[in-house]
């Protein structure tokens, strides 16, 4: 394989791995937030805010790795 094809393959596999990790993380946050809202419906507003912030923190890590994969494509695409 030429190096460009290899880089694009790496970017594709990397994007898939990022999706797995992020989906696991955000899914866990979502499920436990739903559980806590079900237990304490009066605290729903606080839980929702905390849930969005925690999801954003996970998303931040995911975007770091997305940028690595994008760089793999951009830098070898020229």
């Amino acid at each position: 394989m030429e190096s460009q094809a290899l880089a694009w393959l790496a970017a594709g596999i990397g994007a898939g791995l990022i999706t797995i990790g992020t989906a696991l993380g955000i899914g866990k946050i979502g499920s436990s937030a739903m559980e806590s809202i079900g237990r304490q419906p009066e605290a729903a507003a606080d839980i929702r805010g905390a849930m969005i912030v925690a999801a954003a923190l996970i998303e931040g890590v995911a975007f770091f790795s997305i940028i690595v994969t994008v760089l793999l494509i951009v830098l070898t695409g020229e």
Partner: protein, 267 residues
């Protein structure tokens, strides 16, 4: 735009190589210099995103000055009431829980953050306009202001000694203390850096996805895909409006958390 340029120059779909579509997408989401300007050896060129940032700021200033005369205890007029609801949300849900009794000093900063980021995010949803927050320079500047506020707010409230002591946790064994202190100091920088990357990547990702879905028409060389892509992009645009609002909230909320952690280190 990808589509308009394609219809002008290209006779058939076969003329476009897939690799050019990728280049076109990254050209479309990146910044372009419109007016070159060099002052005192600095590159102060006016770019596409600078113009749109000015446009967003002008809209914000216009809204602010139009409701300025209605500033009463009970605001009159639709715009003033809508703005009051948003400002109240910022005060009660973002600033007050994180900054406790010092909320008044930080309220102007965080409401400016909120409205500036919101307007700069939202302006990218209008066709033919771009969102300035899709540039790392803009988000880096915003995160830099958060960084300075973390340091300045901590020093103003606790003094230089108190601010430095917030890096040293009290109930930690001595032999791992250097590692913890190093991690805390590094965390000061990574927090702000992650703030910039998060907003930038979120805002640029939606545009890349929309352009890629349209680019699939060229990559797969079939006009039959166009109706499906328009429907998919309609759904993506709805999702992106949601992301615009969520990321505005997240940027302001995380900034408030970080500043609050520095102003009240015991929390």
């Amino acid at each position: 735009m990808l589509l308009s340029e394609g219809s002008k120059k290209v006779q058939s779909l076969k003329d476009i190589e897939p690799i050019h579509v990728v280049g076109e997408i990254f050209h479309e989401v990146s910044d372009q210099v419109w007016i070159e300007l060099y002052l005192f050896g600095f590159d102060l060129s006016i770019t596409k995103l600078t113009i749109f940032m000015w446009l967003a700021s002008a809209i914000l200033l216009g809204i602010t000055f139009s409701v300025r005369n209605n500033l009463l205890l009970v605001p009159k007029g639709r715009l003033a009431q809508a703005l009051e609801a948003i400002v109240q949300f910022i005060r009660d849900d973002i600033v007050k829980p994180n900054l406790k009794e010092d909320w008044k000093a930080f309220m102007p900063l965080f409401s400016t953050f909120f409205f500036f980021v919101l307007m700069n995010n939202a302006i990218g949803m209008i066709p033919y306009l771009a969102n300035p927050t899709g540039s790392l320079s803009v988000t880096g500047m915003l995160a830099g202001m958060t960084f300075l506020t973390i340091i300045g707010g901590g020093i103003r409230k606790n003094g230089v000694g108190g601010f430095l002591r917030s890096f040293v946790p009290s109930d930690v064994p001595v032999f791992i203390l250097p590692i913890i202190v190093l991690a805390e100091v590094l965390g000061l920088f990574t927090k702000s850096f992650a703030l910039a990357i998060r907003l930038f990547a979120n805002m640029i990702a939606g545009h890349i996805v929309i352009l890629t879905l349209f680019g699939l028409i060229y990559i797969l060389q079939s006009w039959l895909l166009a109706p499906f892509m328009i429907l998919t992009n309609l759904a993506m645009s709805v999702l992106e409006i949601l992301i615009v609002l969520i990321q505005t909230y997240v940027f302001t909320y995380l900034s408030a958390i970080f500043v609050g952690m520095s102003v009240h280190p015991e929390h």
